[in-house]
């Protein structure tokens, strides 16, 4: 690799040819401020339209200031990153951006975690010298995501996520100049678009332009209602990220503190979605083995590969984009919905209460879960199996509002019976985790032998698409894994073209899986946070006494007492679903 010498702020450094000024400066500890720029190193995701001009620097001999994020170093280049000309320009640029931005920071949902706000603070902006018209646009509220385009600074991060990473293609910059906004086609609302509510746009939005639909007030109101029995379930990925909202290091497991906090918030039963994840493995694993067995017996009608169906963003994606392949995914409901269904039948019966008097709240790393629980097929006489899905971020707000000192909480356990789970369930939160959990159970059921080593390292990792073969006692099971919907698309196209011979495929909509979900604490472009969360989940798994879903004694009891057998009549009714062709666009008004 060719190395070149450049001088940045009087420091002579050697960098690889092709390195940008921004990256070169980083190597010597000089942080040039950025706004539109986003780089998730471990996932190879980059956004640098050089649109905001906050990262400008002075390059000797060049007439204009240069955007550091896209300007490559040249031999002998001399760069100043913070002389008076640079500082004045940055400030002016920021003031111009702020001149068309609402200043309602005090009550903005993004306050405290807004990149624009932090930058204005860092740059010492105390007044905005440019007064004038502000662009206004209608607010768009969907079941999961709110678009408040007045707060958009046209950084294009959401557009990059939606188009390049997820290939959903809902968001695009439209109109021009002062009228320009990021919007779905024909400026329809999100709920009239092909949006999957994966929430990756929200996860990268630097301002309050894209936020989640907030259900914290509904939860508080429900908790205060004495006529309701309020039950909470927490998704696997939440325990690996919630601590970040309280200043804890990324990757800190807060399972015990989270259970304690939920109990103090006043939930009547603190349960775990992990229990339902174990249940998912029973149903999905049985379905997988059934399809494989029938396939081996020569049944040509059987559809292989089977695709996982835990991820609601992914479900929406194939309903919109691959309507010809609706019979391939597993019919198993997601753990969130399995939990709700069991809670409002089995557990409500146990308590002797009506389903109308039970409220199920789920804590999710995900925004699509808000949409999922509102789907009609998950309601009985209009009463939803899961009433409210709140994000990890919303839970942190709830805890703060309730004066709970999270850091000082003791570690507590979940309640029984819907709170006990295995190591297989907790890794659902990381890409590859669901299929690893399924493999642990499917292996033992298929071969009738005991699995000595439950860790399947070949299924783990951050590569976008992974292919692995697992030996089922002489029968090789071919497994595919994809995270990020763009990669899911690639795998699905392979299947459609008959180029793939997988038996099972796991797909997660969000990069990294649920640990990188749209409802998680914001990573602000630091992908090492996602890796730390993943490691935390595998750590929790390794520390569990039981690590295979079918060995969970409470799952065994649930089948004995209530469900009968996996994929049986009752399971089919309560734990499985069907999919809809959503490919037709909405009628144009």
């Amino acid at each position: 690799m060719e190395m070149i010498k450049v001088t940045i702020d009087n420091k002579v450094i050697e960098v690889e040819k092709g390195t940008t000024i921004l990256d070169a400066a980083h190597t010597v500890g000089i942080n040039i401020p950025t706004l539109c720029y986003l780089h998730l190193h471990d996932l190879n995701i980059t956004n640098k339209p050089a649109g905001c001009r906050v990262c400008v620097v002075e390059v000797k001999g060049r007439r204009n200031l240069a955007p550091a994020c896209v300007t490559e170093c040249t031999p002998g280049m001399e760069v100043s990153t913070h002389n008076i000309r640079v500082l004045n320009s940055r400030k002016t640029v920021l003031e111009l951006i702020l001149s068309d931005h609402p200043t309602d920071c005090l009550i903005c949902p993004k306050s405290g975690s807004c990149d624009l706000q932090s930058l204005a603070q860092e740059m010492g902006i105390r007044q905005i010298r440019y007064e004038g018209e502000q662009s206004t646009y209608r607010e768009d509220t969907s079941p999961a995501i709110i678009r408040d385009v007045d707060k958009c600074i046209m950084c294009r991060r959401c557009e990059m996520m939606c188009n390049d990473v997820q290939t959903v293609g809902v968001l695009s910059a439209v109109n021009r100049g002062f009228m320009a906004v990021v919007a779905p086609a024909f400026e329809r609302n999100l709920d009239h678009s092909e949006c999957t509510y994966c929430g990756q746009c929200v996860a990268v939005c630097p301002t309050g332009a894209l936020t989640e639909v907030d259900h914290t007030n509904n939860v508080i109101r429900t908790l205060a209602d004495p006529s309701k029995t309020v039950i909470v379930q927490t998704a696997p990925a939440v325990r690996a990220a919630l601590g970040e909202e309280f200043g804890m290091e990324a990757g800190t497991l807060v399972t015990g503190k989270m259970a304690a906090a939920l109990r103090r918030l006043g939930f009547d039963y603190v349960f775990d979605t992990d229990f339902a994840a174990d249940l998912t493995i029973m149903e999905e694993g049985t379905e997988l083995l059934d399809r494989i067995t029938r396939h081996l017996k020569g049944d040509t009608t059987v559809k292989l590969p089977i695709l996982t169906s835990c991820c609601p963003g992914w479900v929406s994606f194939f309903e919109h984009q691959f309507p010809d392949m609706l019979d391939i995914p597993s019919t198993a409901r997601s753990p969130q919905q399995m939990f709700g269904s069991i809670a409002k039948t089995y557990f409500a019966e146990k308590l002797g209460i009506k389903r109308e008097n039970m409220v199920v709240v789920s804590i999710m790393p995900c925004l699509a879960k808000k949409y999922e629980c509102s789907r009609n097929e998950f309601k009985v006489d209009g009463n939803p199996d899961v009433d409210f899905a709140v994000s990890t971020r919303e839970l942190a707000h709830l805890i703060k509002q309730a004066n709970i000192n999270f850091l000082e909480l003791p570690d507590e356990d979940f309640d029984r019976p819907l709170g006990d789970s295995t190591g297989a369930a907790v890794i659902f939160g990381a890409t590859g985790g669901v299929i690893e959990a399924a493999t642990r159970t499917a292996y033992e059921v298929f071969t009738g032998k005991k699995l000595d080593k439950v860790d399947f390292e070949q299924l783990r990792g951050m590569e976008w698409i992974r292919r692995a073969e697992v030996d089922f006692d002489g029968f090789p099971i071919k497994i595919g894994i994809a995270h990020g919907l763009g990669n899911a698309r690639k795998l699905l196209e392979e299947i459609r073209d008959g180029k793939a011979d997988f038996h099972a495929i796991e797909i997660m909509a969000c990069p990294g899986g649920c640990i990188g979900g749209g409802g998680q604490p914001l990573h602000h472009g630091d992908s090492s946070i996602l890796k730390a969360r993943t490691a935390a989940l595998y750590r929790e798994d390794a520390g569990k006494a039981i690590r295979k879903s079918h060995e969970n004694p409470f799952i065994q009891k649930l089948y004995e007492d209530f469900l009968g057998k996996p994929c049986g009549h009752k399971s089919h009714h309560l734990l499985h679903t069907h999919y809809f062709d959503k490919s037709n666009p909405v009628e144009i008004e």
Binding site: N163, G169, S172, V174, N175, R176, A185, H320, S583, P585
Partner: protein, 161 residues
């Protein structure tokens, strides 16, 4: 890609698909495709953009983004008799704006709009190279020269059904 629900007639749809094919269904040729499509339909309704997005394997949001960025592209159908008023320097100094105002007043539409009966649409353009005739008005391909505000009514009447 998703299949789409199309409200175009089958003949026009075929022609549109042929335009896309002419450019090898290459999304890099989007602007050229839109140009030809607008020539075919007179404007670019949402359905046409959906078909183009589908054929070029890109998103409708992206196509809409391009259509709304360039002022040449329009999503409003042109009238049967498109009226263009020259706003070039020569026409302007000889009172083109007053002529335009009169068209707006009588037709009750703004620039870029079409009358509800679909008869007339109003637009401005820059210099048709007939400055000696300023101010100039075009109706379809026909050129009217030295138009005064009080002559506007006659022009409209000539084309009214």
């Amino acid at each position: 890609m998703a299949s789409i629900n199309i409200k175009l007639n089958i003949e026009k749809l075929g022609q549109l698909q042929a335009i896309c094919k002419e450019f090898n269904n290459d999304k890099g040729e989007l602007i050229n495709v839109l140009h030809k499509a607008q020539h075919l339909f007179g404007y670019l309704p949402a359905e046409v953009q959906e078909v183009i997005a589908h054929e070029l394997n890109t998103s409708a949001a992206h196509v809409y983004g391009v259509v709304t960025f360039y002022s040449f592209f329009t999503m409003t159908p042109k009238g049967e008799h498109p009226i263009s008023i020259c706003m070039g320097t020569a026409c302007y100094v000889r009172g083109a704006e007053k002529v335009l105002d009169e068209f707006k007043r009588i037709l009750k539409v703004k620039v870029g709009e079409t009358t509800p009966d679909g008869q007339f649409s109003l637009s401005c353009l820059r210099c048709v190279g007939a400055c000696g005739l300023a101010p100039v008005v075009l109706v379809g391909d026909k050129v009217f020269g030295r138009v005064a505000p009080d002559g506007v009514k006659d022009i409209i009447e000539e084309y009214s059904k």
